[in-house]
Amino acid sequence: MGIAANSPKVELRDVGLRYFGREGETEALKGISLSVAPGEFVAIIGQSGCGKSTLLSLISGILSPTEGSVLVDGGDVTGPSRKVGYMLQQDYLFEWRTILENAVLGAEIQGANMAMARERATQLLTRYGLGQFLQHLPRQLSGGMRQRVALARTLCTEPDIVLLDEPFSALDSQTRIALADEVSEILRREGKTAILVTHDIGEAVSMAERVIVLSRRPGRVKSDHAIRFKTVDGARPAPFAARNAPEFNGYFNALWRELEVHVEG
């Protein structure tokens, strides 16, 4: 593709989005500029209603900005692209499809080679410990297992960029932390660029290399924090280990204070 190593994977230039309704127009996002490097794991935090999810919808191409432009690999985003995978807040598995049929949904919609898609989905599901559940129905699986199927469904189409919209919010706290470890390990190993949206500061700090704070509606970029942990081998610790690192509380408190400013005014 001839893309220089330092050119951004995802770039937003002065992006604004307004929703129109009979009651008037709502400005969801305003003047957002940010870029994400290839292979980077970025978290976007902000209070509910600040337009975090809207931001992901713009990057995925299911919404178009009313101002500015969204670029992926230097090209304008004009619609959903195979380069971008999107994990929603809940698994939204189709109850009438088996686990395997759910995992190949994206490939099926994109008209991919189904034999290869099924093989890849089987591999992914087996790797996530769901090998013996391929022919089961979603209702027979627990919440954590279902969310793993959703991850396999997202990765089955082999996207470069994975958008995560509070993907663990519907799970109990234990499953949530365990799954955060698995997901970040999987995404890092496969060299994916990831953008995680969450309102959970701990989740953001423990998973991402960079945390971007959005202000209240209309959402703007308020600040941008690099998250670094000192480890023996220099590698990034897994989220669960990061939560116990000495730097964790410093980052947590700094971000906490920033979000609290909004509560007061």
Binding site: S60, I62, V84, L88, Q90, Y92, Q110, Q140, T157
Partner: protein, 276 residues
């Protein structure tokens, strides 16, 4: 993964066996009561005219139904066999609700596809559904002729409720499932065939239950007016010559036919829902 499988490893406990016995007893009591109600009704129907409590001319007796049925089995030059009458009614009903399902699903899909169309047609659909369609029986007879007026009435009576029920089922699909398909770049047609339609199967079956019954009503009412074949015709004929045993036999056959139809749909439902 089911509970039974889970416990199945160990021998069932005495309490569980006791619970099973209670379960079975409860089910038997319900069945026995249902049967008792039917038997009591038949006895009352048989005895009331015999004890001169009501005029047998109006009600006939349940004991005459079987002999009447046997008598009507034979076709005469003036009258077809009762089996031919029954088949005619059942066939028209199946034609009626099948067309209602096909047209209803197609029209509901079109309304889903073009929201503007729905917004325009909504009041007309609601009024068309609320209209007493039976008022059109004489008109249909003039417009469509003897046979097709029956199919027409069967369709007219069930179509609008079918459209409204299926459309509201489409509306009930979780918009996030649609959003999910769109993140993979799904076209509108793919959203319809991969999300909206398969997600509406329970609604389609619930609709089938409603419109099968309504189609039967449409057929019988249509036959009152125009047919020379069918249970609706036989009821009309029997009442005109004041032979209540013919009327009651035809009504009994209608009850049996609608029960069998209901059973068939329940069986279909169980077969489909096993996958969910």
């Amino acid at each position: 993964m089911s509970k039974a499988e889970f416990v199945g490893a160990a021998p069932p406990s005495a309490q569980y066996l006791e619970w099973l016995r209670q379960e079975r007893r409860g089910r038997m009591i319900v069945r026995a009561t249902q049967l008792a109600i039917l038997v009591a009704f038949l006895i009352l129907w048989e005895l009331a005219p015999r004890l001169d409590l009501i005029n047998p001319l109006f009600t006939s007796y349940p004991s005459t139904i079987w002999p009447t049925f046997l008598e009507l089995l034979n076709a005469t030059p003036q009258q077809a066999s009762i089996l031919a009458h029954t088949w005619s009614t059942v066939f028209a009903t199946v034609v009626g609700f099948t067309t209602a399902m096909l047209f209803g699903t197609a029209i509901a899909s079109a309304l889903w596809w073009w929201n503007g169309l729905y917004r325009v047609l909504d009041p007309y659909l609601v009024v068309a559904n609320a209209m007493p369609k039976t008022a059109f029986v004489p008109l249909f007879y003039i417009w469509l002729g003897a046979t097709f007026s029956i199919y027409g009435m069967s369709l007219a009576i069930s179509l609008f409720i079918t459209i409204l029920m299926i459309y509201s089922g489409f509306q009930g699909i979780d918009p996030n499932k649609i959003k999910l398909a769109q993140t993979f770049g799904a076209s509108k047609g793919q959203v319809l065939t991969k999300v909206v339609l398969p997600g509406s199967v329970p609604t389609l079956i619930a609709t089938l239950k409603v419109n099968a019954g309504l189609s039967l009503v449409g057929v019988v009412v249509g036959e009152f007016q125009s047919a020379s074949l069918g249970l609706g015709y036989l009821i009309q004929y029997g009442s005109q010559i004041f032979k209540m045993n013919i009327v009651m036999t035809a009504i009994t056959l209608l009850a049996i036919a609608s029960s069998l139809m209901y059973l068939a749909i329940s069986w279909l439902e169980a077969a489909v829902m096993r996958r969910r």
